[in-house]
């Protein structure tokens, strides 16, 4: 558990009072995202990469593609693994060392969205059944933490996968995989988008920034696929939502997810 950033009581009250009146300290509306900027393919050594900034939050995702063994219970499927690093340079709260629960949760929520929406057709990443498959390593690298790491990371992961290429290969004697020159794009079938809302004094706001995360009672993330179905949910924080708030959050998230998807997929 990272130590909470201290927000003074005055600021706490200011944030809450503004929200109660439908406003926010940084001038946004309650369901308005910060400015989103996406840079694609900036790491040449990686098979795919993207850097997404959401206001002052910056997340870089690099995708590496390797060849390895499939899981024994899924011999005909490629492997997707998502890992996240809260790099110490990103925040005074982050420390070097093995991943903590926050980092693990972040990676697992991003993973769940990609996996459950079947965005990557893993069965198409099988090379020799039971022996060789493509392994897609998605590494989430947080570079500056100013709140809402989940949405930023999910967008960066999707943007990075969308420009990921996998190498051409041929199989010799049904055993050896030979890499041939040239690449083809990684197949992507779905575009999951995570939308996080924070509950502050009974009000819901989207895309909480760091100070709002400090003040919030709880957060909830809905990940929607391209057909408007929910493919992952995660509640976080030591507070609660009423059932009515959960359903309201779902409706807001569904709407916002379409808006964000356009930016990530088409933009």
């Amino acid at each position: 558990m990272t130590t909470p950033v201290t927000v003074s009581r005055v600021r706490r009250r200011q944030i809450a009072q503004l929200i109660a009146n439908g406003m926010r300290l940084d001038g946004r509306g309650l369901t308005e995202y910060r400015e989103i900027k996406i840079e694609r393919g900036l790491i040449e050594r990686a098979e795919g990469s993207a850097k997404v900034s959401l206001g002052r939050t910056i997340v870089l995702v690099g995708v590496k593609v390797g060849i390895g063994e499939p899981y024994s219970d899924r011999p005909n499927e490629g492997v997707l693994t998502v890992n996240s690093e809260l790099v110490p340079l990103a925040s005074p709260e982050f420390e070097a060392g093995p991943p903590g629960e926050e980092s693990i949760e972040l990676a697992r929520v991003v993973d769940r969205g990609l996996r459950e929406s079947k965005s990557i057709p893993l069965e198409e990443l099988c090379i020799i059944p039971g022996k060789k498959v493509f392994i897609i390593f998605v590494d989430v690298y947080v570079l500056n933490h100013d709140g809402n790491l989940i949405d930023t990371s999910a967008m960066a992961a999707l943007a990075a996968l969308l420009n990921t290429k996998i190498f051409n290969y041929e199989v010799e004697d049904g055993e050896v995989v030979k890499i041939k020159p040239g690449f083809k794009p990684l197949p992507i079938r779905n575009y999951p988008i995570a939308v996080t809302l924070a509950e502050i004094d009974g009000k819901l706001v989207v895309d909480p920034w760091l100070d709002e995360e400090e003040v919030m009672n709880a957060r909830i993330t809905f990940t929607f696929d391209k057909d408007g179905n929910i493919c992952a949910i995660q509640k976080g924080g030591g507070g609660f939502f009423t059932k009515e708030q959960v359903l309201e959050a779902m409706r807001i998230a569904r709407e916002k997810s379409e808006e964000l998807r356009k930016i990530v997929v088409e933009g």
Binding site: I104, R115, A218
Partner: protein, 246 residues
């Protein structure tokens, strides 16, 4: 190797273990089962067998973790190596670390942590046998262990999952329904406060199905809540009897 299609609901609408869509698995709860712990409880839900124990409020170690204005709640959700089909390494997995976090966050809103500043409350949940829905049964039993430790709470937290199996929304998924089904929605709830304290989902659901699933899960929570209270009462009636006999 094509997986044989699994039928999880038969022609008569019965599930693999013979239940109806809105039926809970048999539940057995016992409070106060361990001597050393300040509070403890045990639950069986289907083939799930789960122990929870609470130590504290007590001095927090290491000291730098103490919070000036409230107690520190620490939670460890852990699966025994023999609790699942294939032996699980006893080292905490990423899944267990995530679950420990969300379980802690599901219980925090219930506890008057501000009554015990600078202390720690340690909660241990041991999954002795897993049969799907362990996080939910773990929360249900953990809040009883907290109550048994005499820690003041706003309400008991109770948890239950609903999900989608063979295209139908069903209550309290077992292991095979969880693995083969289309979606799983665990919910933790404080009935007196209408408070959802844990909500997760994996799988795919339309917004309408999600709403149904949440409603059904909360319905399940309310039923388990009654059993929780019975178990707690039984514990105190037993103590009362013991005292009267002396």
């Amino acid at each position: 190797m094509q997986k044989a299609p699994v039928r999880l609901i038969d022609e008569e609408g019965k599930r693999v273990d013979g239940r109806e869509w809105n039926e809970l698995r048999p539940i057995k709860i016992e409070v106060g089962v361990l001597n050393n712990a300040d509070g403890s409880a045990y639950i069986e839900q289907g083939k799930n067998k789960i122990l929870a124990a609470v130590y504290g409020p007590k001095e927090a170690h290491p000291r730098h973790l103490t919070l000036p204005d409230r107690a520190l709640l620490r939670c460890r959700y852990h699966m025994a190596p023999f609790s699942v089909e294939e032996r699980k390494s006893p080292a905490p997995s990423r899944r267990e670390i995530e679950l420990s976090k969300v379980i802690r966050e599901s219980l925090e809103p219930a506890i008057f942590l501000e009554h015990y500043p600078r202390t720690a409350i340690d909660l241990f949940i041991e999954i002795l046998q897993a049969d799907g829905g362990t996080r939910c049964a773990g929360i249900t039993v953990a809040s009883l262990a907290l109550a048994d430790a005499g820690i003041p709470m706003r309400d008991l937290v109770v948890a239950c999952a609903a999900g989608k199996v063979d295209n139908k929304i069903v209550l309290d998924l077992n292991d095979i329904e969880d693995k083969e089904g289309e979606a799983d929605v665990p919910v933790a709830f404080m009935p007196n406060l209408n408070a959802v304290t844990l909500l997760q989902m994996d799988g795919t659901l339309t917004p309408e199905e999600f709403e149904q699933a949440v409603n059904l899960a909360i319905e399940g929570c309310k039923r388990i809540y009654k059993m929780q209270k019975e178990a707690l009462k039984a514990r105190y009636l037993a103590i009362k009897r013991e005292v009267e006999e002396q």
